[in-house]
Amino acid sequence: MGGLSASRRASNTLIYIILTLMCIIWIIPFVCILFESFRVETTMQVGYVIPKQFGFDNYINLFKETDFPIWYRNTFIMGLFVSVIQTMFVLMMSYTLSRLRFKGRKGLMNFMLVMGMFPGFLSMIILYRVLSRMGMTGEHSVIGLILVYTASSGMGYYVSKGFFDTIPRSLDEAARVDGATRAQVFGRIIMPLSKPIVIYTVLCAFMGPWGDFMFAKYIAHGSSKGMNVAVGIQYLIDKDNMRAAHYTQFCAAGVLVAIPITILFMCLQKYYVEGVTGGSVKG
């Protein structure tokens, strides 16, 4: 350290102070929500953070009094299905657009670009009416939502196409010379190389239903049995709702949702970072 100049040491100290302050600001809300979820004395909002009395009442009441287990189950089921189907669709689409050349390829890409400029919610109005006639909304919104999330997911091919673009084409050609069909090239050569992007796609797809609010709220249409966690938890503190006074239950629910997702995310963080960085550079 002795070699550093005084000004450099000062600037480093300043940076340490800023970073520490930032970390505190970024962590505080989560610490607060954790504390408040254990508060027993009142279920309303209060002007202090550390509870006067700790207990698990909120968690117990959450399971006893609300539909939280159902919301959790709904979201988990959706997450599983969406991650499988969406990953398939995205990989099929991006691989085709990246590696195969066929008539209408550019046209298809431009068409999807234009379609993506319409707000996705616009199509929900009609989809809701059609799905509700087929009995896939309200209480049974899980099936409807899986369809809504996955059907158009091929349009989100950009990140993984960028990944496939980086795999050298000479690999394909060598295999083709050896007599492999295009399907074999896809299954035996490209897929084994694509572990990072597959994991990134699965992770994003799985987390989608946990964070979606707009579509889920519209399709569930106020039926508590068909909500996902986001809509359900918002419903707990909605200003038009009787339960709004049970503010601490909302905190407990938030903690229960955040924990598994955070653990999953932290385990697969490496792949997520790769995907995000790659995707932003290629656009």
Binding site: F118, P119, L122, M214, Q234, C251, V276, G283
Partner: protein, 513 residues
Amino acid sequence: MNRKFFKTLSTLEYLKLNRFEKFVYNLVMFFARIPKMILGLFIKIWNFIKACGLFVANEVKDFFMTFIKGTWVTRVSYLVMGFGNIWRLQVIKGLFFLAFEVIFFVYMKTTGFYWLGKYKTLGDVGMHREYNEIYDSYIDVPGDDSFKVLLYGTLTIVFILAFLYTWRQNIKQNRIMDEIVRSGKKVKSMKQEAKDLVDDQFHKTLLALPVAGITLFTVLPIIFMILVAFTNYDGSHDGYANLFTWVGWDNFNELLHSAGTNNNLSYTFGEILSWTLIWAFFATFTNYFLGMIVAIMINKAGIKFKKLWRGILVLTIAIPQFVSLLYISKLFSKSGIVNGMLINWGLIQQPIEFWNNPTSARILVILINVWIGIPYLMLIATGILMNIPQDLYESAKIDGANVWQQYTRITLPYMLFVTGPYLLTSFINNINNFNVIFLLTGETVANPKLNTSGGSATDVDLLITWLFKITTGATNNYKLASVIGIMIFIVVAGLSLIAYNLMPSTKNEEDFS
């Protein structure tokens, strides 16, 4: 403004300009190009029409020539689709063609023409009272359902187009098979055709499902909603009790020109649109620059615990956004912790209504969005910063550049160049950033000035949240929702067009070599 911006510069002159001048020059040139671009657009449209005409002429010619020159098998295929395929032993494919034809004609005969007949008016008789002999009284009898007419009518039209396309494909295939037979070769067997689906035609296999999904869940609904924008479909014209019908451009006129106290739709739209753009601008660029600065600080040589700082920030990405958004929204609510603490400390007497003051609400959503967005940008910027060749910095240091100069001359241009498309995408995502606004401002009360026939809006509503409220609110104003959806599309498409024209073109790429 300097004269030099108003004439076309040579490459050498252009390179002499500084960064700001280059930007102004590009901007001026962009607007100077507009007349040319419009002219170019007309030429393109004309060429497109010409190409279309040529295409149709060719198709028609091919259609007749195939019939005249073709074998009798081909000629029969004009009437019985797939006959040629079956005759030449591609039985399964032929049967698909035939089945499609049969289904099409049966459908058109039984239901298709019925819906098409009503399509022009979207139904004639709504719910009405009729005398019923069993009950010996007048009861309500359902009439037409405009929604169904519009839906099935549109689907029928799509079906007809699909049939025409298939019919044409069927004829084309026969012509090709004719040619193969004439040249003495053999037509592909069923087995070979199936094999092609995993080889030369592999793209068809892979694209079939995703494209079908996109067609059913995105393309058709959007076509339908665009049509709705030209009807008067809303809560009071639900298509069942009260029919709705075509109204032309009325909805667009109402949105853009209506004035007056009880129907200030165009005023509301203007207010919300301008706030949406302001929000998208600040949300994008505050995140971008602050995130980049954080990344630079963490990456700086000599800073320890890099993994720790990064880890803590990434942790906040992992926690689902809606949890943190809802919680922070409650932190700042009237009875929330922030107000509680301020009162306890004696700083204020009455709780502040952060969410019901337009200025504080707007500043808060932007600040909280920074809180949400910095970790993402930190990740992205870290990845890119590591790619900047280090020798650029070394030589800059030797030339005596200070930290600020290094930043403005090397880091920033490189970042802007590489992340140009990302900036555009994130700007567009922010225009449609439903979650942040809706979940944060659940307590905000509607502004009475922004009260319209379609439903009311708050001062922090974006177009997309307004759209959501209009559709889910009491009025169910679907027609207005469609028009706003189309407006969002126009804004997004227009911005993309301008941005692509202004983005550093390939000539700037040389800056870094």
